[in-house]
């Protein structure tokens, strides 16, 4: 399964007819089992791009194409949102089986699948807790398990760890790296955090500030599985530096524009 992001542009129009160009001609493709990170300064249209790929927003021009064998039962995408988006009236287990319910899978099988992903993200013992009883990091684990359980062709993550504190965030990056090594899902990951992008991605797509354009696509040739030790290595830091060089001016301009 190859995913082609084919010359996507997005222009928002508000009620007074004023338009804002969010994305300009975004074009790249993703290979099967590839981990692609889109990184860019705030307000560069990263989330817009993710929503278009998820089918939650229409593009002004261009399209998203999934190339390869298709089935009706397997969804194209599943999204892990920054603010978790867990259903507060459902327990951890019921949240995770939501997509399976919608696909009409039998309860027994739902339960088996859910157990597998609960174990994968390390939530054993919390199956019957409600989201409000969980910490932020655990909520995001539920959200990841919910998306993975639905077995999408492409997993989308929209700044999934931005709502977490810095320490939890770092731990969750290691966790995600481990989970990805076990599942090898095609994954498109949105972030503004360059270290995170380099640590996680096979390739990093660097976006400019608004309107978001592709500044560069950098292949991260660091060995996998990646662990904490990697973050001290010179090659890792060189990648971080290279991307920061791209983004620095963009981020500065964006900051002055907003501030």
């Amino acid at each position: 399964m190859k995913v082609l992001i084919d010359h996507i542009s997005k222009i928002y129009r508000d009620r007074r007819g004023e338009s804002t160009e969010a994305l300009r001609d975004i074009h790249f493709s993703m290979e099967e089992k590839e981990f692609v990170v889109v990184v860019g300064p705030s307000g560069c249209g990263k989330s817009t791009l993710l929503n278009i790929i998820a089918g939650l927003l229409s593009s002004t021009s261009g399209q998203v194409i999934f190339e390869g064998p298709q089935t009706d039962s397997k969804p194209h995408t599943a999204v892990v949102f920054q603010d978790f988006a867990l259903f507060p009236w459902r327990t951890v287990l019921k949240n995770i089986v939501y997509g399976l319910e919608e696909r009409g899978i039998k309860w027994q099988e739902q339960l088996e699948i859910a157990r597998r992903y609960i174990a994968l993200v390390g939530l054993q013992g919390f199956e019957n807790k409600y989201p409000h009883q969980l910490s932020g990091g655990m909520k995001q684990r539920v959200s990841i398990a919910r998306a993975l359980a639905n077995d999408p062709m492409l997993l989308l993550m929209d700044e999934p760890f931005s709502a977490l504190d810095a320490q939890t965030r770092t731990l969750m990056q290691y966790e995600l790296s481990r989970i990805w090594e076990e599942t090898h899902k095609s994954l498109l990951y949105i972030t503004h955090n360059i270290q995170e992008a380099v640590f996680l991605g096979d390739r990093v797509v660097v976006l400019s500030r608004r309107p978001g354009r592709i500044l560069d696509i950098i292949k991260i040739e660091l060995p996998r599985p990646r662990s904490e030790a990697l973050t001290l290595e010179r090659r890792y830091l060189e990648y971080v530096d290279a991307i920061w060089a791209h983004i620095k001016k963009q981020a500065k301009d964006a900051m002055e524009e907003i501030g």
């Binding site: 999204v79 507060p88 009236w89 409600y130």
Partner: protein, 271 residues
């Protein structure tokens, strides 16, 4: 015009908690004691015959009158008559209110059609519609049930509509991305999201239902608490009238308690 410099003193200054007064003290017994005290004072005033019992009967005499009404069973006839009307009106109003509220909240055409109608009819005091309802439906049960239903319908429909409008769009997106279609979203996202608003509507509604059942029974009825209050006042049986008021108070408290329990039962994800 330079301000004089505050000379430095060498002392010890201990920092005080400035928010101290915000911490309200709890007085667990005071509520009960003051309640009893007021009752005793009332009893005393009546016993001293400063106020004729026709205007203000003693609590003890109200209580014994109430006991007699319980023993003869007459009180239950009135309570059941009123409760029956409240129940029907309430059930009809809640089901219609939830249905219409979701329709106008979620679909654009019902919203365009329904909103002005609701905006125009909502401000009319429902008691004012009672004569028209009696004209249409007769003086039997249906006009009373209808006026209660009308009164409860509006807070319910407005609450549900507001609830639907305030459903977290992120949850809808999440459901869509997990494969829900529009009807599934109403059942699995909208409905649980608005449950708290439905309960708020029910709590508002039950107060209105009590008000309207009494009003409707005062206009035309042969049983019910409103009927009982009106006839006992005509016959200057103030004790019985007071019994009616106490029953209304108890009913209000009971419904409040009931909805609180139901809310806990149906919304376990909110402590």
């Amino acid at each position: 015009m330079r301000r004089e410099i505050d000379p430095l003193r060498v002392e010890k200054a201990i920092v005080q908690d400035k928010t101290h007064f915000l911490q309200m003290k709890e007085h667990p017994w005071l509520s009960l004691i003051s309640f009893i005290a007021i009752l005793l004072f009332w009893e005393w005033v009546s016993r001293m015959a400063w106020v004729p019992p026709l205007f203000l009967p003693a609590p003890s005499s109200i209580l014994s009158e109430g006991w007699i009404m319980v023993k003869t069973g007459i009180i239950f006839k009135h309570i059941l008559a009123s409760l029956n009307r409240i129940l029907w009106g309430f059930v009809i109003a809640c089901s219609l209110g939830i249905l219409v509220g979701i329709l106008i909240g979620f679909f654009s055409i019902p919203e365009a059609v329904g909103n002005p109608i609701i905006a125009a009819t909502f401000p009319i005091p429902k008691i004012a519609i009672l004569p028209l309802l009696i004209l249409w439906l007769g003086i039997g049960e249906s006009s009373k049930v209808a006026v209660i239903a009308l009164g409860v319908f509006f807070p319910m429909v407005i609450n549900v509509y507001t609830g639907v409008k305030n459903v977290d769009p992120l949850l809808i997106k999440a459901a869509l991305s997990l494969g829900s279609n529009r009807t599934r979203i109403i059942r699995k996202v909208i409905l649980p999201s608005i449950l708290p608003m439905i309960f708020a509507g029910m709590k508002l509604g039950i107060g209105i239902a009590l008000l309207l059942v009494v009003a409707a029974e005062m206009v035309a009825a042969d049983a019910g608490i409103g009927f009982m209050i009106l006839t006992t006042a005509d016959l200057m049986q103030t004790q019985k009238l007071m019994v009616g008021l106490i029953i209304l108070s108890l009913l209000g408290i009971f419904f409040n308690w009931l909805f609180q329990k139901l809310e806990r039962l149906f919304i376990p994800w909110k402590q």
